[in-house]
Symmetry: C2
Subunit: 159 residues, 2 copies
Amino acid sequence: MVSVEEQLKSMKQQMISKGYKSTIQREATMRVLLEHERDHMSAEDVYMRVKTRFPEIGLATVYRTLELLTELHLVEKMNFGDGVARFDLRSEDHEHMHHHMICSICGEVEEIQDDWLSELEQRVKREYGFNVSDHRLDFIGTFSSCKHGDCHRHRENAS
Amino acid sequence: MVSVEEQLKSMKQQMISKGYKSTIQREATMRVLLEHERDHMSAEDVYMRVKTRFPEIGLATVYRTLELLTELHLVEKMNFGDGVARFDLRSEDHEHMHHHMICSICGEVEEIQDDWLSELEQRVKREYGFNVSDHRLDFIGTFSSCKHGDCHRHRENAS
DNA sequence: ACGTTTAATTAGAATGATTATAATTTAATA
DNA sequence: TATTAAATTATAATCATTCTAATTAAACGT
């Protein structure tokens, strides 16, 4: 619904309004994120994609930008237990309202675009006096398609 | 209900029955885990504790033992997004039936000793054709006690 | 109990992801 | 346009974890 350019503009404004500068490196990084909204890219993945269009950029800059965007809650930093942090844009509409299915055969990560936890968050509040501001729900298992051997990539790293 | 010695014996038997050897280093490591059942220790934490009683042990051995125990499903390897893997014993009674509350003020991790996800796992199966073998549910937020400033340790690492 | 075999341990080096540093550049603002 | 502080660059450093080669020790059969 919202174009890449519009989203980019909005992100830049949020940066500036918080006192951060809008640079071409940050813009390039955000653009890559916008074009791979739900790809669960590692910092290295993002770096490589940014580099194809902006070869002078440094890896550290990408790391710092991703960190900044995480602080601003514009991207979500995730961790699937393989030792690499992964980053996704948080589009306004589905904030952190999604969960993951992680295939233990091929490592593929798919999303569930729903928030199934509202009730449980209430319960945590009631029973434990814990105010939930965020959550993470990952299911580990196998897709029926993977069980039958027709997996995309075959897995090289264990959780 | 089960004594440390009994649990240790059972763990050793499981090792041997799977073709692995029972060594004093592994025993020392398991003993530490048994004595810190739900402490979410990092490999380094475990190493330091083992080392007080068995100073000749190497860090790599602890890592390898934790990895082995994870494979045997005797310990659970977790990841709270701070870049360090954490390990807990899986006592027979509550397998992986627990969730975490992670305080964003002090970093403390507390457990919910319940499985709230059975229904959701059915739903994942039905709606996505994904067979769940395990899951992870973490709530991020604040304990009421922490909001009032009386926190144990103050936080130095962000998620 | 003893030797053989093979896995496990050790110390230390290597790796891979991430973060810090110091010098240089650039965006924002007057 | 000049100033100033923040951002970037390249590179070194760090941290967690894994690998390697040489040595030690469990398990098993005799």
